[in-house]
């Protein structure tokens, strides 16, 4: 064998771009939940169905006379869907959107994120990620050869007697500004934020926008929970701020919008000079998205456009229902001594489990963050699945906030009641001798 062939055979078979991105918290926790949990408030998906009008649209699409809906559609987005998205988001942004160039459909918001990083992040580019963050941002930046730069939301003590709110977790403006450098290509914004549920205020968005404009940085704006805002709060789109449209890609999700996470339909909205590059990535990676679901989502949006602002709109009903569920879970947790951080948005809630630490003793020099061990113990021993907050921090920061766990409350009343029963029983066990 030649020396060069020997060298080749001793190299790993996989590409270097996979270095350090093979671990994934969900693979482990989803398996644990499947094995042990009786009440799964872990992974973020509803346990109630999508609305009837959407399911009916899906059945109409798959069984209708037009069997061509089972064949390829337009690669960058099924025409009825991109048209209605352009109309709907044009209305929200106060802008004329071209369905062919300002909108692109993706396989879930996940693939939209992938396209953004692949299209814009080259080796050596820095990307600012706000912690805690939806865990895929970091490996996606790395896979694109970029360098993630983290900046944390820091909790401020709530007013006396009040429960902490996600609004109490804030960026330090000076700290944020220090993260921008010549190498900064983009910042990833997620509002409403998973896992905290924070809904960035206009002031906070302006802070970010000013820095983006000053440093000529792109904004990848993950807005999948855009409809899930509570207490009369407003979801503000950073792309509508001065100087931001030209440098922002907005990402949305039918899964979160219509409670149909298994359909994997997402989209990007933005200026053509940015979307053209997303189209290049898309046409060289998946090319087309499934047709039937796109047709159904288009009809869903058509209905919502007609019911815009009316009480029967799903975008008004869903947050109303979820707010009740949020309040229910907040109450449950507060009653037993887990301290909830009341989320302003999303269907996630983070709680401080410090008072339950006695159940899971500290293991000094453990590689695993405390909250991860706690969450694993909890699902195995109490049957209640949740996700450790450390899952949403980079490796170096996993122990900064390691006594919090995240619950998903997009669940039927029966599920939340069952969770409450587990928590009550647990508390009783702790207080009785």
């Amino acid at each position: 064998l030649s020396l060069s062939l020997q060298a080749k055979m001793s190299r790993p078979v996989q590409a270097r771009r996979l270095e350090g991105i093979d671990k994934n918290v969900w693979v482990e926790f989803v398996k644990l939940a499947a094995t042990y949990s009786t009440v799964n408030l872990g992974q973020g998906f509803p346990d109630f169905p999508p609305p009837d009008f959407l399911k009916e649209a899906f059945v109409r699409a798959l069984s209708g006379e037009n069997h061509m809906l089972h064949q390829y559609t337009r690669a960058f987005g099924h025409p009825p869907l991109v048209k209605i998205l352009a109309q709907y988001f044009g209305k929200l942004l106060g802008r004329d959107l071209d369905p062919m160039t300002n909108v692109m459909v993706t396989v879930g918001a996940y693939q939209a994120l992938f396209c953004c990083f692949q299209a814009f992040v080259d080796e050596g580019d820095e990307v600012i990620i706000i912690e805690p963050f939806f865990d895929c941002y970091e490996p996606m930046v790395k896979m694109a050869g970029g360098m993630p730069v983290f900046v944390p939301l820091r909790p401020k003590a709530p007013k006396d007697g009040k429960l902490m709110s996600s609004a109490d977790w804030q960026l330090d403006p000076a700290e944020l500004a220090s993260k921008f450098s010549e190498r900064t290509k983009a910042i990833v914004l997620n509002s409403p934020n998973n896992p905290l549920g924070k809904v960035f205020s206009r002031g906070e968005l302006e802070l970010i926008a000013d820095l983006c404009v000053k440093h000529d940085v792109l904004c990848i704006s993950d807005e999948v929970y855009e409809w899930l805002v509570y207490d009369g709060k407003e979801h503000i789109r950073i792309a509508s701020l001065q100087g931001m449209w030209d440098r922002t890609v907005i990402i949305g999700s039918a899964g979160k919008t219509f409670s149909a996470t298994g359909w994997k339909v997402g989209w990007t909205v933005g200026p053509n000079r940015l979307l053209q590059h997303l189209r290049t990535v898309h046409q060289n990676s998946v090319y087309h998205c499934a047709t039937v679901a796109q047709e159904a989502v288009a009809q869903g949006f058509q209905r919502e456009l007609e019911l815009y602002g009316k009480p029967e709109s799903y975008f008004i009903q869903l947050p109303k229902e979820l707010q009740q569920k949020r309040d229910w879970l907040v109450q449950s947790l507060d009653a037993v001594g887990m301290k909830p951080i009341v989320p302003e948005g999303t269907y996630f809630l983070v709680a401080d489990i410090s008072e339950f630490k006695s159940d899971v003793p500290d293991v000094p020099d453990s590689d695993e963050p405390y909250d991860s061990r706690f969450a694993k113990w909890m699902v195995k021993n109490k049957g209640l699945a949740a996700i450790p907050l450390s899952a949403f921090y980079c490796g170096a920061h996993k122990n900064n906030y390691n006594h919090f766990i995240r619950f998903c409350f997009a669940k039927e009343e029966a599920t939340l009641k069952a969770a409450n029963d587990i928590l009550q029983k647990w508390k009783l066990e702790k207080t009785s001798p």
Partner: protein
């Protein structure tokens, strides 16, 4: 300010053009108002932005054109496949996320079908990845296993995405053409062969993989065992991977057998075999595909998948699983869709060939797949006043769409730069079309010489 909604109802190309013009003007205005914009595309997508399909599917979207271009069926998928999708969508849980690497019932069904075909055990959890179409499998495989410094051998003509995907991974495509070996009459896809000596020269220590497509798009060649052995021998000698695109695996015609290169000795451990629901069940719009191979390779594809789109749609996967169970149970029965579709397509193939021959053309009869290539030189269409930089077949297809209202795909779209001129008299027709479409094509071909050029 929104445009009047009627512009959205109008499906004509003109309305879109008007909107695009107005939009691009407004972009220019805002661009001049802001500072210089430094954000261009990344290096990895440099030069891979154009795409033959984007160009030709747009043109053929006109319903007055008989569309034999893009490879999509206009026949209906089998009714039980649609029924299974309706059943799946009615189950609440099946509208939410499923297992990232593939819905459990689907990977189980795939493992059963392919265990039977391959004659070996296939672990549904570690040896299979479900992807967004075979396209997604190609992407996951190339991103997982190919990088800068690697060479990847691509056999020409090739399904056009192989080249840009290899480039996007930073690697160098190395081309080798199928060459026409003058043989029987009429020409068959079997007459297009690789020269073993020439193939051997393409392999070196940098060769990471060879991409094999059998049955082959666009020619329809079904590689024989001997031909596969030549490739396998080189893969083993040079410790090269084989990415085997077998999306048309069930579409092989009488006298031919689809052989999986992964079943040859020494090949399972170095081969990723790719399949497609779209081609298997005539549901290209479902965009489900799969990669099958040894765990130590598939695990890297899974890492790519979990960092690109994480999971594929659930109800489609469930429906596909159920369809597979139905056909798995009747794999000994001629009514199994895998065989019945093939028989249906064989008669369409024969009809297509006849139509082209009667028009004075020489089609290459495919042994598999649902495409047919044909040399259009005999038609003597003079396009010398067209764009000289464009290959002849590009100009020919554009002219044919415009003046004959019949679409096809130029073969040079499937060739590397050195070989484009070699194939520029060929165009590709797709024949997975209903009878009325083929009837309409027949009318055009019969009347070809009656109309002025």
């Amino acid at each position: 300010m929104l445009f009047a909604s009627r512009s959205f109802c109008c499906r004509g190309v003109k309305a879109y053009q008007l909107r695009t013009d107005l939009l691009s003007r407004s972009i220019k205005l805002s661009a001049s108002a802001t500072m210089a914009f430094r954000h261009k595309n990344t290096r990895r997508i440099e030069g891979i932005d154009s795409n033959v399909w984007v160009e030709f599917t747009k043109v053929a979207a006109d319903p007055s054109i008989v569309n034999l271009g893009q490879g999509l069926p206009d026949i209906s998928p089998p009714s039980y496949v649609k029924e299974e999708l309706a059943k799946a969508a009615a189950v609440d849980r099946l509208n939410q996320y499923t297992r990232g690497f593939g819905h459990p019932s689907l990977v189980k069904a795939l493992s059963q079908v392919y265990e039977r075909v391959c004659g070996r055990e296939i672990d549904p959890l570690t040896d299979i990845l479900v992807t967004v179409g075979a396209y997604g499998s190609l992407f996951s495989t190339i991103q997982a296993l190919i990088e800068e410094g690697d060479e990847v051998i691509i056999i020409e003509p090739f399904y056009d995405c192989y080249e840009p995907m290899v480039k996007m991974a930073g690697a160098k495509p190395v081309f080798i053409p199928l060459r026409y070996k003058n043989g029987g009459n009429p020409a068959s896809s079997a007459d297009w062969v690789l020269d073993p000596a020439e193939l051997a020269t393409k392999f070196n220590s940098k060769t990471k993989a060879i991409i094999l497509n059998t049955p082959h798009n666009p020619i329809g060649k079904v590689f024989t065992r001997e031909e596969l052995q030549v490739i396998a021998d080189l893969c083993i000698k040079y410790d090269t991977l084989c990415i085997s695109d077998e999306v048309y695996e069930w579409l092989v015609y009488k006298g031919n057998k689809h052989i999986k290169i992964a079943t040859l000795p020494g090949m399972w451990e170095r081969t990723i075999t790719i399949g497609s629901a779209g081609k298997t069940y005539s549901v290209t719009g479902w965009k489900l595909g799969w990669s099958i191979g040894p765990q130590n390779l598939i695990k890297h594809l899974q890492v790519v998948h979990q960092n690109t789109l994480y999971t594929c749609p659930t109800p489609l996967q469930e429906a596909l699983a159920q369809a597979f169970w139905i056909d798995y149970k009747r794999m000994d029965d001629p009514d199994c869709y895998f065989y019945s579709l093939s028989r249906e397509l064989e008669s369409k193939r024969d009809r297509m060939a006849q139509l082209l021959q009667e028009a004075g053309l020489k089609p290459v009869i495919p042994d598999g797949g649902y495409f047919m290539i044909v040399d259009v030189s005999a038609l003597n269409v003079d396009l010398s006043d067209g764009d000289e930089k464009q290959p002849y077949d590009y100009e020919f297809v554009k002219w044919m769409i415009k003046s004959k209202k019949l679409s096809a795909i130029p073969l040079s779209a499937f060739c590397g730069p050195e070989t484009k001129r070699q194939f520029e008299k060929y165009i590709r027709f797709c024949f997975i079309k209903k009878d009325s479409t083929l009837d309409a094509a027949e009318v055009i071909l019969k009347n070809w010489n009656k109309q002025p050029a």
